[in-house]
Subunit: 155 residues, 2 copies
């Protein structure tokens, strides 16, 4: 049995599939995964699969079940969200339509381009959200008010 993660012959391969959500260019990615000895590997390549190059990542965890995170839009930052353990809900809103997505597996990712209003909630007790972002942290890049977001989108 091969023990190399990339040189091995996996027992099962799932190919990447991308489903547009209909909200401002955002899309749900069912990621490639290779299941076979030993274990499962789920890879993503930037920018040929996800349309940006990460300059930052962050992990969010130990979030109380009743908490809401996010509630902002980004002027420039592209993000890719994966719930690597447990589950959480993500809402995305382009000021005309709103969509809710449950992230509940490590091979399911949500691509969120700039100027989408997003929130995350219903974190399970063990949930951990991995976010890859195209920019360094810059507080001036956030739109923190929904009224401002809506007026920017109406221009």
């Amino acid at each position: 049995m091969s023990r190399k993660e990339d040189a091995r012959t996996p027992a099962a391969v799932e190919e990447l599939s991308i489903t547009e959500t209909g909200i401002g260019g955002s899309a749900l990615y069912r990621l490639r995964h290779f299941t076979g000895p030993p274990g499962t590997l789920s890879p993503v390549e930037f920018p040929r699969e996800i349309p940006f190059i990460p300059r930052r990542y962050f992990l969010i965890y130990d979030v109380p079940a009743n908490a809401i995170r996010g509630e902002h839009a980004h002027r420039q930052c592209h993000q890719f969200l994966v719930c690597v353990r447990g589950s959480c809900c993500v809402s995305i809103d382009d000021a005309l339509n709103k969509h809710e997505i449950v992230l509940e597996r490590p091979d399911l990712g949500l691509y969120v381009p700039p100027m989408i209003w997003g929130a995350q909630y219903n974190y399970s007790k063990d949930a951990m959200l991995l976010v890859l972002a195209s920019t360094h942290y810059d507080p001036t890049e956030y739109v923190q008010s929904y009224d401002e977001f809506r007026s920017l989108m109406q221009r």
Copy 2:
């Protein structure tokens, strides 16, 4: 209470600390983390904290306890390893010295530059390893034989 992950005032902040392992430029990163309402956030920025820009990430999980993964070196690829749940052991070897590290928390990362022989083992049942990599997958970029690695390092 603020519910914004970046605009909030955290209850506790841990700053980044970097400890060289002594093996070929590799280093252990105790990542920044912000603990406070609601939840914990642990961010990393590339290349100003970790000295490369990711072009790929992969998650490894469901690894049997007796399995050994890795057992190769990369000619060009830089990697950053974080065990986001559970724990695993990582060995790093520069052909002169070998070091073993236990990754067991989501704010602890191991930076591995090219030409380090690495292996991962003793995965806990729930372990999930996040690997950020500076290159796309390229099988020709791997050194798969320890003898070849040692002779390359002796040049």
